[in-house]
Symmetry: C2
Subunit: 233 residues, 2 copies
DNA sequence: ACAAAAGTGTTTGGAGTACACCCATGA
DNA sequence: TCATGGGTGTACTCCAAACACTTTTGT
């Protein structure tokens, strides 16, 4: 089977992968190098791929994630498609596409997903030619990005903020298995762009039945150790 | 320019157009007839189109709507893409696609939009070969539908319910310019799948500053006439 | 002993919910 | 005068928000 049959070079998926380092939201980006005539050019891109001819969109997105991280059971949700003709106009992007896919590329419509992963599970297959790294969301605006990926990240962020408002469960996709209430609160506040009161927050969490206290405390902190909690069901 | 250059036969848009007839939610569907060897087959489809090579997704969706209704300034929002390889597998659908587009069609990924329109503005160009009509949402499950359009409608409904929860403004896209509180309440309850109390609902609306009372009453009703309201800003 | 973060209660205002009767109008 | 929907008020509950001090532990 030739490449022309296995790939569908008109539609791709891109994943905005979020993580949380107990302090800030992070995105997983891939370093891209484009060799031009004399010098080479560097920027960042979202993990993504052209879809295969026999897979559906969700499958393509999970494939991208497993190839990249080696992890399974990652929260993944489609949030929007981007398909303006101008998004595949930049000569650098075209050059890169045609080099990496070995296909003649016209316009590509991309279906964007957000993924949430526990940042401590760094079982990234960070080995091969792709080098993926976490970047602080606040720094993304300052970075050179491929295609319209800066846009896509912003939209993904909006989307996930919205979702987490409705489904607080999703917060726990970003926290380590055992966490303290203040880690949870920092994350909550980062996502909601608020600065919530410690006592009120404790009360709120107390009525989330899926947050259960462990008989265990934090270790190695230079002050009173906090109780650990886990997410159940 | 040949058809191959002006159309992109890999990506389409489909619009789930909602209306409200003071009683139930309705969807705008197009009658489709497929001529097979002996007899012809009838079903319904969503208004949609393959995208043109120089337009973006939002433009394609508005184009579909203006071609269909002649209206401008319609609320329109992308909500999800559908792209499984199985969605363009039914031989009837393939036949119809190739007949109407005159193009060889492989897999089509479709980007779905919801649109909200005031059902009384029936300035539909219901003339040409396309005959579009309003159908009760509850009847849709019983009807034969093209492709995965039944799915798309359900997802669109979920989406718009969600949205209207967050942005009550959107309700007014479905109501006539002048409406009564009980029309608004029926719509609200239909959308939220609730049965709200008359008095409590009046109170709620009273604090929506964008709902303003007019010095005007309903006419031609066989009982006490209700006050009319309008939506402002 | 001190620095640093953990943990804990009470009060107040606003929003949602439950609930029943009189009013205006056309037929 | 009757049938049909229009329109109105009060009491209770629950949730969100404001607000300050004591406890524990490592250095």
């Amino acid at each position: 089977m030739s490449n022309e049959n296995t790939y569908n070079p008109h539609v791709s998926v891109d994943c905005v992968v979020f993580g949380f380092d107990s302090d800030n939201l992070k995105v997983l980006l891939i370093e891209r190098t484009i060799k031009e005539q004399n010098e080479s050019y560097n920027d960042k891109k979202l993990p993504g791929s052209i879809i295969l001819n026999d897979e559906n969109l969700d499958e393509a997105a999970s494939r991208v994630l497993t190839e990249l991280t080696g992890l399974k059971n990652i929260y993944l949700s489609q949030f929007r498609s981007f398909g303006g003709p101008e998004r595949t106009k930049n000569p650098r992007d075209i050059l890169w596409l045609e080099n990496t896919t070995q296909l003649k590329i016209g316009r590509i419509v991309t279906v964007a997903y957000v993924a949430l992963i526990k940042i401590d599970r760094k079982i990234l297959s960070n080995s091969e030619e792709t080098s993926a790294n976490w970047y602080d969301l606040n720094d993304v605006t300052k970075m050179k990005m491929a295609f319209d990926h800066a846009d896509i990240i912003n939209r993904g962020l909006e989307y996930i903020r919205h979702r987490m408002d409705i489904e607080p469960h999703l917060l726990f996709e970003l926290l380590p298995r055992k966490f303290t209430i203040s880690q949870l609160r920092t994350l909550y506040d980062t996502v909601h762009q608020t600065r919530s009161d410690v006592r009120n927050f404790q009360k709120k969490v107390a009525q989330w039945s899926y947050v259960v206290a462990l008989e265990e405390l934090e270790e190695g902190v230079p002050h009173r150790a906090a109780r650990l909690y886990k997410y159940k069901k």
